[in-house]
């Protein structure tokens, strides 16, 4: 299965084989390989641990939606929908994305003198309807994901305690944090490379092509 999994960054950024962005990525084979291995470690793990594949995909679809990264949001939602009963879960996640959309990063710093840079913004809570559809454990994960996406500087031991109280183990919180944080990376690489692709080849590729 793994061998046939497409390179997700290429897929989401629309990078065709042999295009100039493809050739640029080929200059950094380790980065390309390990970005893909990171995706596989999180979404096709050898051990599910304390976080189910469905939960992994739900968090990813939520995070991608918050980034307004439509290709990524569709990609992860499609993974949810493929599984039994997934359509209603995907719809519930989408509804929470609509409620959670905003612009970041914002948040309070720990103390003066940085307090001058404090910027207030939405503190997201899953809707009552969403809490029923998603359950307490996944709802806690989405609330934490929103914190990490938009106001990571407000993270706290209390935020982790909420996850622990909702049934997340320490190890599962590490995986959850990696999923949200990896998505923050993957989506930005896709955004950046898609912009480069749209801008058309510049100096390096044109010199190589001639």
């Amino acid at each position: 299965m793994t061998a046939s999994t497409p390179d997700v960054i290429d897929l989401l950024a629309g990078i065709g084989a042999g295009s100039f962005v493809d050739r640029i990525r080929a200059e950094r084979p380790e980065t390309r390989l390990n970005a893909q291995k990171s995706y596989l470690a999180l979404f096709e793990p050898i051990q599910e641990g304390g976080i189910l594949r469905m939960e992994r995909l739900a968090v990813a679809a939520f995070v991608a939606g918050l980034h307004d990264a439509s290709a990524a949001a569709e990609f992860y939602s499609a993974g949810i929908i493929e599984t039994m009963g997934g359509a209603s879960l995907a719809a519930a996640v989408r509804a929470e994305v609509e409620k959670g959309r905003t612009h970041g990063p914002y948040g309070k710093y720990p103390a003066a003198p940085l307090s001058v840079g404090d910027k207030s913004g939405l503190v997201f809570e899953v809707s009552d309807f969403g809490r029923v559809a998603l359950g307490g454990k996944l709802s806690a994960a989405l609330e934490h994901s929103h914190l990490l996406v938009f106001r990571p500087r407000e993270a706290s031991p209390a935020a982790l305690q909420k996850l622990l109280d909702a049934g997340w183990s320490t190890t599962a919180i590490v995986t959850l944090s990696q999923i949200v944080s990896f998505l923050a990376f993957q989506i930005r690489v896709v955004t950046g490379l898609a912009a480069l692709s749209k801008a058309g080849a510049g100096t390096l590729a044109s010199a190589a092509a001639e």
Binding site: V21, S38, P152, Q161, S169, I173, R188, L196, A199, L204
Partner: protein
Amino acid sequence: MSEIAIHPKLERRPSAFTQAEIGWAPWLAPLVEEDLTGRHWAGLVDPSRAKSAYFMLLVRDPEILEARTKTDKDIFHNTAAGLPRADRELSATAASRVNGCIFCASVHSRFASHYSKRTSDVQRLLDEGTDTDLGSRRWNAIVEASVALTATPSAFNEGEIARLRSEGLNDLEISDVIHGAAFFNWANRLMLSLGEPTPAAEA
């Protein structure tokens, strides 16, 4: 009975961006060396990382740590035909400054200064923020691109590409800027959410 998050008892918590060698304390229990299996050692990549509370916490999920570490090393160290180290460290510092990661900003601003010898320009970025003039159009363009990419939703588009090109960056170097800033959106969120910076050791 759920597990309990750690509340480190700290005097003088770092409260400003700095190039000093500060530390980091976890809010969840790291593994200890006796717990590590072969799978965990593979995840650490460098055995010396067993001395770091951060990596010993992340190694609870060894497969993603291993892949992430190898991504990190290549993005920041593989300069073949691409962007110099100083500029990569600048992109990491800019992303960390925007997200508010005092710890990541300390490490990578120190590297940016080390490779560029432009310590005071780097300090101005920390003190005044990412809008400050760093004394060269090239650095300003790299910071602007990193900031645009770090916004959520991202504000990075062909305008940033054009500006980087006008400063002489080729496409591989632009890709290196993108990866450096994007990677720190990963690193910042782990560092910020799983623990906090601790003061530099007394001189």
